[in-house]
């Protein structure tokens, strides 16, 4: 009779073989992509980007990918702009979770700070009513979110793992509750009339020396048409991805990786772990603030209901689903997590169920994420095998 132990070994072996095969295939794919000459690769990338920009205007008969082609569906370019904003959020969150390995469940707090900053300083209806143009609000939003990142990070980054997750979860809720209760954020009623990116109504007297007067509205960005917002988000995504990648391939990215793998050994090897963790937090927060600013102007109206706990969890789900650490994987995960519910809208009340099932199926089949960074996948796999062997050995 085969013992349970032997069967365990057989299963563990099978899993290992299947995984090895899959990795080989993936590596082959990666190798094939790398072997294509660089100009061709660049051209292919460029074609992909052009396709993304053209996406709101494309419809393919027979393949109903547009959300406005299905019953109960909503505007495709509106959905696209939402997804693009969330992709930006995910790219920022990936710096914190995927690269530095800090589980941040309250990332939505930074997103909210960014959105509220733009609304408070830009909207004529806020009680501050400075009515700054959007372009001036954005740097203020980024600066304020970075500061809030440092304020949150300084005391909490001494914690590790699950403890950090709990504290950041609290942070996200604190920001939301503050937004509900402060007068300047106007609670549930929120702040309407957030300025569009292409309008400015400024009449400043600088120290009585000279006068700056702008009064224009190009009317490119309007509530009627979400496409310009989508395009703007795409441009920002590309810029941010390039910036994050250049950081990843430097001393900074190396330090993050070292901290993620063995923080004690890293600091004994001279890595200033606290500083680099704080930088990861600040950079992630800045990107979160930027996407919040984008959201506020696209949505025109900001209130505390936009920043609930569920959305925060969905951001982390998107990253885990796509594959932590790999920027393109994270983008893919976000697109799936925020596109599927819209695509399933025709199921009306059952769509959440279908969406939840889809997530479970994907995570069972690919626990490391759809398109993980190679390192992250191996880290996860090592731990799984260790657990399996421990179980088999017991």
């Amino acid at each position: 009779m085969t013992t349970l132990k032997e069967r365990y070994y057989a299963v563990a072996d099978g899993v290992r073989k299947a995984e090895a095969g899959r990795q080989k295939w993936a590596q082959g794919l990666r190798g094939r992509w790398q072997s294509i000459p660089k100009p061709v690769r660049l051209l292919a990338g460029l074609a992909g980007v052009v396709l993304l920009f053209a996406l709101p205007n494309i419809a393919i008969p027979g393949i109903p990918f547009r959300t406005d082609e299905i019953p109960n569906g909503i505007g495709f370019s509106f959905v696209l702009s939402t997804i693009a904003i969330y992709v930006l959020v995910a790219v920022g969150l990936n710096v914190v979770v995927g690269m530095a390995g800090l589980l941040d469940l309250g990332y939505i707090g930074f997103y909210a700070v960014g959105a509220y900053t733009v609304a408070i300083f830009g909207s004529p209806d806020s009680i501050v009513a400075t009515k700054y143009p959007w372009l001036i609000c954005v740097p203020i939003a980024i600066a304020l979110t970075m500061v809030s990142g440092v304020i949150l990070g300084t005391p909490t980054l001494r914690l590790r793992g699950d403890y950090l997750a709990i504290v950041t979860l609290g942070f996200g809720e604190i920001i939301r509750l503050v937004a509900v209760n402060l007068r300047v954020t106007n609670g549930q009623r929120g702040i309407p009339s957030v300025p569009a990116p292409d309008e400015a109504h400024v009449d400043w007297n600088v120290f009585g020396w000279f006068r700056i007067k702008f009064d224009f509205d190009l009317d490119i960005f309007t509530p009627m048409d979400a496409r310009p917002y989508y395009w703007l988000a795409l441009v920002l995504i590309i810029v941010v991805i390039l910036a994050v990648r250049s950081m990843e391939r430097s001393r900074v990215g190396r330090s993050w990786l070292a901290i993620r793998e063995d923080e004690d050994a890293a600091s004994i090897m001279g890595v200033e772990s606290f500083k680099f963790k704080l930088w990861a937090f600040a950079i992630g927060a800045a990107i979160g603030g930027l996407s919040g600013a984008l959201f506020a102007t696209r949505n025109v109206f900001v209130n505390s209901g936009n920043f609930n706990l569920l959305l925060s969890v969905m951001f982390v789900a998107a990253i885990v689903l796509g594959g932590q650490g790999n920027i393109l994987g994270v983008v893919l995960g976000t697109v799936i997590v925020f596109y599927l519910p819209e695509r399933f809208r025709f199921l009306s009340t059952k769509r959440e169920l279908v969406f939840g099932l889809a997530l479970i199926v994907i995570m069972v089949l690919r626990p490391q994420g759809l398109w993980p960074s190679r390192r992250r996948a191996r880290e996860l796999q090592d731990r799984k095998l260790e657990a399996k062997e421990a179980a088999a050995g017991a």
Binding site: S246, R251, A258, M269, G270
Partner: protein, 313 residues
């Protein structure tokens, strides 16, 4: 490296290295080093070896009457010795003698209850680990602690980064210093890989290397931080005799490059073969100190290791 050579007395204070003169000299030296290009690894490593402030033989790290208590347990009791510049000092003792505790006090992990540890004339305790690394102490671990998912080259580059100054902004905008330091790190990695006998394996993941190579890689990573004092915590654990032989030679080579070596080891043959001086601990107290030949004959050491014969007691 270049920075250190320009400001040998105050190399721990980053501000002094930010002065334009220091930067210019560093850049000039960098160019000069690049022109030399074809140096043999030994020459290159000798150039990058630490600027030893103290002359050979002067105390580099002194343990002054250190006592360490954990509650009622006295882990170290008035231990007093020093590591001299340019020597290989071995710290030995039976299991539980306090070797690792002593090691942790010396590397600033524990703060002594009384007494003090001075490195290069400065107090160690209370300083952050990365500062201690920059002051010039590097270590390896009893149980290997490489970054397993990084390649061998990247592991060494993390060590080399200890003296690099590329900021987040610099990395973001690819400022010149970023490129210079990346090149420097890669070159250090290549030279050190060759030095420890891992040439051509820089692209392999640390976790895929055989056990012995992992130990050597850990030494290379520690050397990349350009330590004045390299602390090896049981580097021969799990080695076969041939590997021990190679390790012995490697330790001597490291000393010849200008690093002082502190060695904690169980293997008596290795210790006797390589150490210039030996300090013996037992029950948290120093029971002997001297050259290997003397230690071998010391009755207290023999007693500690072999037990006291009945009739002698």
């Amino acid at each position: 490296m270049p920075d250190d050579e320009t400001t040998p007395t105050s190399e721990d204070t980053p501000t002094s290295e930010e002065t334009p003169t220091a930067k210019e000299t560093a850049a000039a030296e960098e160019i000069a080093a690049e022109e030399r290009g074809g140096d043999s690894p030994a020459e290159f490593l000798a150039e990058t070896a630490p600027e030893t402030v103290a002359p050979p033989g002067a105390p580099l790290l002194s343990v002054r009457d250190v006592t360490l208590r954990f509650g009622g347990v006295v882990a170290l009791d008035g231990v007093d010795f020093e590591v001299r510049t340019g020597e290989i000092l071995a710290l030995i003792g039976p299991n539980g003698a306090g070797k690792t505790t002593c090691f942790n006090v010396m590397t600033g992990v524990y703060k002594p209850t009384s007494g003090r540890v001075e490195f290069d004339g400065e107090r160690l305790s209370g300083r952050k680990p990365h500062i201690i690394t920059r002051m010039g102490i590097a270590r390896t671990f009893q149980n290997i602690r490489l970054f397993p998912e990084m390649t061998a080259e990247e592991n060494i580059m993390v060590g080399a980064d200890a003296h690099h100054k590329t900021s987040v902004i610099g990395a973001l905008l690819h400022l010149p210093r970023h490129g210079r330091e990346e090149r420097d790190g890669r070159r250090t990695a290549a030279e050190l890989l060759e030095f420890v006998g891992l040439e051509g394996r820089g692209g392999e993941l640390a976790r895929n290397l055989p056990y012995g190579d992992q130990r050597r890689l850990e030494i290379a990573r520690a050397l990349a931080t350009r330590p004045k004092l390299l602390c090896l915590d049981e580097p021969a654990a799990g080695f076969n005799p041939a590997e021990k032989e190679r390790l012995q030679q490697l330790i001597r080579d490291i000393r010849d490059l200008g690093h002082t070596v502190l060695l904690i080891e169980h293997d008596m043959r290795l210790v006797m073969g390589v150490a210039d001086r030996i300090v013996v601990l037992e029950f948290g107290q120093k029971i002997a100190e001297g050259p290997p030949a003397e230690i071998r004959e010391d009755p207290r050491v023999i007693a500690a290791y072999l037990g006291v014969p009945e009739d002698a007691a």
